[in-house]
């Protein structure tokens, strides 16, 4: 992996400056069943294609943001600042 990733603030930087935090998951609502909870905690879609995922510019500005990345080519289609929500899934 040596692709360039664009930080929303710092612009394109080598990917080793970033921390990857995996695909965006859907945190279940109140009182999930054990199956819903297990799905959320342990299972990932692991798509071969475009996925939305969390990144942090760890050794740069420290910002957390979302990226739309094609997991087959490492082409990053879009980087997005998150729109936080108290109720939003993580």
């Amino acid at each position: 992996m040596s692709f360039l990733l664009s930080c929303p603030f710092c612009g394109p930087r080598p990917v080793d400056e970033y921390a990857y935090f995996g695909e965006v998951t859907k945190r279940p609502g109140t009182s999930p069943t054990l199956r819903e909870l297990t799905d959320y905690v342990y299972f990932r879609d692991n798509v071969a294609g475009v996925q939305r995922e969390w990144w942090q510019h760890r050794t740069g500005c420290g910002e957390w943001f979302l990226a739309e990345r094609d997991t087959r080519t490492n082409e990053v289609l879009e980087v997005i600042l998150p729109e936080p929500s108290r109720r939003s899934p993580a």
Partner: protein, 861 residues
């Protein structure tokens, strides 16, 4: 056999340089390479081949082939044909028993032929299995390349430099130079790299020339690492121009590896650069005009040309080189024998497309040229010159000429035409499989000299077209690279606290603790330090604790949602112990949370958890968006734990603030001045005695440490602290817990407040609360005075059923105590379990809670 001084030679005859070559003293000149100087004095054998230990001499003189790999000043696998000469260098042969000229192992060549076919090792040495270690030892010493000097240590220093370029040109030949100049005309930021040291002197207007330097590959994102000896440049270029040219290909005929069989490129360099007469009587075998032109150089060097054969016109049935002692003596062309001591043979030139293939270009067989050429270049990558196939003659000699003797397709791995044919007969019907089976193209040249010959032979044997076979995958690096260069310098910072040198001066034994250097103990007897804390006064540097400020109108809401604990009901100036859980309900980290103001909290984490906890807080807040800021102040703030029955008196002597038991209670946080230093004092008791954690600006570290020691506090290290906290049954997250531990199994079921609306881990903890845990973290006391190792097995009815996570001998308790995970049905207090200590089973009793001062009166006093 130097020629008379000539125009354009690279050597400076006024500057003699000498070095040792396989024990012989060699005199050369500045400008020589180690290889050219040795050759000039008559040395012909430079190495022994990989498998058959056949003598090998200069073949390409361009740093491609394996024939001149030698050990230079203890560095193995140096290509001496391109390594510049240096005074006093010690050059030695490798893969040799005895000497280069007489190698005992060459017996494998004489008798080994019929017995060492392709795949011989895989098939023969598999049985009996128990003998494999013996076989392996022998085979490793018998076959292979140079040996690493295990005592060499840090003989060289490597660095990595990140660079940007607008245009990066790889290759400084005609095409590369033209492209670089054209690019320079449109703006700055043009860099040209070439393997050849001579290009160092090249002056191109507006172009930065790096030589000798080698582009190792083209990676994702246009990353081109360039090997410049002791510096690795990591180039990112907007445009990459590949002008790597074409590589002369060896002709495949029996005896084609004999010493004295050379590629035209080798002769050209020996004559033109070093003014060396390469032989006395030469046979020239060539399949293109570029190869035939070598006769001009041979004539200039006054080499008698015995025969020149244009293989496009003459198509011999048999073509064999023969010799004695591994050196070529004659060439047999059909029935005719021609005496010679030099054979210049070329099958034509193949574009050096590897970098382009790595970048994603398609590589196709061009049947007009008989070579593989790059097509469909990826964006941002361009190719110029003969690497595109431009200006090359058609390659059309026999894929392999017939005759008696070993006929090598791959000189690196000693793969013969016979091996290839056998692989095909055995059914390895794809070139990728045949490659892995025979190891052709997998040696040091990485296919530069054997890829095309292998495929041509494969096509012929299978009666297929080359185009249908395709190529094997080109992977970086393009040429062998020293591991040291890839590793670079170790730049992992060592973290030391601001009081570190005070500890060192006090004679502390320093140990690693994650990225930190910390005192293990200050003397031979950690138990004395433990006793000091119990009986009088001790002080420990805890600056390594992670320290965060969480501030903002919604700071409390953020913390309430991150921790299972409740914080909203906490008053200003109070402290609470908190444990972070993941959404799976597992323990991640622990620490204390102090409320300093309505909207300001001071959070401590474990020493190794600071960065991860900061990132975790910030991530969740990116999800939720509370009005709160998280600031990691771990480095800015130093901390010490002043502990022991006398700690209150000692602290009172250093501050005007009232620190009496009534004014400064257990779990209070006060902002006070200590010896003139603004300090946040937290009254907590990790070590179980009355104590104060003092947090203050790092620059005051040594000063305040000195004042505390002057007040009678005995410094104590990590080891005494481990004993003290164990006596209290205090858990160390990451030592006593692991990624599966949760609050219920770890005996902290009192901690989570499941009636809160939401917090990270709430739903998992709701489920876990309903479930019977399989195992539990408990304390134990040993029945005998033996100390189990941390990680020792708990054995129940002969089966391992748990593990010890901490164990220490406690003077205060009088026995060996510890923490362990045991099955739930053995977790009741007083249950007897057995622990394996040095192969013997020893009895222990399960306990709950603290071992010492069970009611906690001392730390609350």
């Amino acid at each position: 056999m130097r020629m008379e001084p000539r125009q354009g030679e690279r050597i400076d005859r006024t500057k003699p340089v000498s070095f040792s070559f396989a024990g012989w003293k060699i005199d050369g000149f500045e400008g020589d390479t180690l290889g050219s100087a040795a050759f000039a004095t008559g040395k012909r054998v430079f190495s022994r081949s990989f498998k058959y230990h056949r003598p090998r001499g200069l073949l390409c003189c361009s740093g491609h082939c394996p024939n001149c790999l030698m050990t230079v000043d203890s560095v193995p696998n140096v290509r001496v044909c391109t390594e510049p000469i240096r005074q006093g260098a010690v050059v030695e042969g490798q893969n040799v028993r005895w000497s280069l000229d007489f190698d005992f192992m060459s017996v494998t060549d004489k008798v080994g032929g019929p017995f060492t076919p392709v795949g011989f090792y895989y098939r023969t040495f598999i049985r009996p299995r128990r003998l494999w270690p013996l076989y392996e030892k022998f085979l490793r010493s018998a076959a292979g390349l140079g040996k690493l000097d295990e005592h060499a240590g840090h003989s060289r220093r490597y660095d990595t430099e990140h660079r940007k370029a607008r245009v990066l040109v790889v290759g400084g030949g005609e095409a590369g130079r033209t492209a670089a100049l054209a690019a320079a005309a449109t703006g700055p930021g043009v860099v040209l790299v070439d393997e050849d040291a001579r290009l160092n002197a090249l002056q191109l207007q507006g172009v930065e020339v790096l030589a000798p330097a080698r582009a190792l590959g083209i990676w994702e994102g246009g990353l081109v690492p360039v090997d410049a000896g002791t510096v690795l440049y990591r180039f990112r270029a907007e445009r990459i121009v590949v002008a790597t040219g074409a590589t002369e290909q060896p002709l495949v005929f029996p005896g084609n590896d004999l010493v004295g069989v050379m590629l035209p490129s080798a002769v050209r360099r020996l004559v033109r650069d070093f003014s060396i007469k390469p032989g006395n009587r030469a046979v020239v075998l060539a399949a293109d005009d570029a190869g035939l032109e070598i006769v001009d150089d041979l004539s200039e060097a006054e080499v008698e040309i015995a025969r020149m054969i244009d293989l496009r016109e003459t198509r011999p049935r048999e073509l064999v080189a023969q010799g004695g002692k591994g050196r070529v003596r004659r060439v047999l062309v059909d029935e005719e024998s021609i005496d010679c001591d030099l054979v210049v043979a070329s099958a034509g030139r193949q574009p050096a497309y590897s970098l382009l293939a790595q970048a994603g270009a398609r590589i196709e067989f061009d049947s007009e040229l008989g070579v593989f050429v790059p097509t469909e270049l990826p964006s941002g990558v361009e190719a110029f010159g003969s690497v595109t196939g431009e200006g090359l003659g058609k390659i059309d000699p026999e894929p392999a000429y017939g005759g008696k003797g070993k006929c090598f397709v791959c000189v690196c791995e000693d793969v013969t035409t016979k091996d290839m044919k056998r692989a095909i007969v055995e059914g390895f019907d794809s070139i990728e499989l045949a490659k892995r089976y025979t190891t052709t193209t997998m040696g040091p040249c990485q296919g530069k000299l054997c890829h095309l010959p292998s495929i041509r032979l494969y096509a012929k044997e299978n009666r297929m077209y080359e185009a249908a076979i395709g190529t094997t995958t080109a992977r970086p690096p393009w040429a062998p690279v020293e591991l040291g260069l890839l590793a670079g310098r170790d730049l992992t910072p060592t973290r030391r606290t601001s009081m570190h040198w005070s500890h060192a001066e006090a004679g502390a034994t320093i140990q690693w603790a994650g990225p930190w250097k910390r005192p293990y103990a200050y003397g031979e007897k950690p138990e004395d330090e433990v006793r000091a804390v119990h009986e009088s006064l001790g002080v420990i540097d805890v600056s390594t604790l992670g320290k965060l400020f969480v501030e903002g109108p919604e700071a409390v809401a953020l913390l309430e949602r991150l921790y299972p604990n409740r914080f909203g009901d906490m008053k200003r100036g109070r402290i609470r112990y908190g444990v972070l859980t993941s959404d799976g309900g597992r323990i991640m980290d622990d620490g204390t949370i102090a409320r300093l103001a309505d909207d300001l909290y001071y959070v401590t984490t474990t020493s190794t958890g600071a960065d991860a906890v900061t990132a975790w807080f910030e991530w969740w807040n990116a999800v939720w968006g509370y009005e709160a800021e998280v600031v990691n102040v771990t480095g800015a703030i130093a901390a010490v734990n002043l502990a022991g029955p006398q700690s209150r008196d000692a602290l009172q002597r250093l501050t005007e603030a009232d620190v009496s038991a009534e004014a400064f209670k257990y779990l209070d946080a006060h902002e006070i001045d200590v010896a003139g230093v603004p300090t946040l004092a937290l009254r907590i008791g990790f070590v179980g005695e009355l104590g104060y954690e003092l947090h203050f600006p790092s620059p005051a570290g040594e000063y305040l440490w000195g004042r505390l020691v002057a007040e009678g506090a005995r410094p104590f290290g990590l080891e005494p602290q481990r004993v003290l906290r164990l006596e209290k049954g205090h858990v160390i997250v990451g030592q006593d817990t692991d990624s599966e531990s949760n609050l219920y199994s770890s005996g902290m079921s009192w901690l989570p407040k499941l009636d809160k609306d939401d917090f990270v881990g709430k739903y998992a903890l709701e489920h876990l609360a309903q479930r019977e845990e399989k195992e539990r973290l408990v304390g134990f006391t040993m029945e005998e005075d033996v100390l189990p190792a941390e990680g020792a097995q708990i054995v129940i009815e002969g089966f391992p059923a748990g593990r010890v996570t901490s164990a220490r001998r406690s003077e205060a308790v009088g026995v060996v105590i510890g923490l362990a995970w045991v099955p739930t049905d053995r977790a009741a207090s007083g249950t007897r379990v057995e622990i394996r200590v040095d192969r013997l089973l020893r009895g222990a009793r399960v306990t709950h809670g603290a071992f010492f001062d069970t009611a906690g009166e001392r730390m609350r006093s």
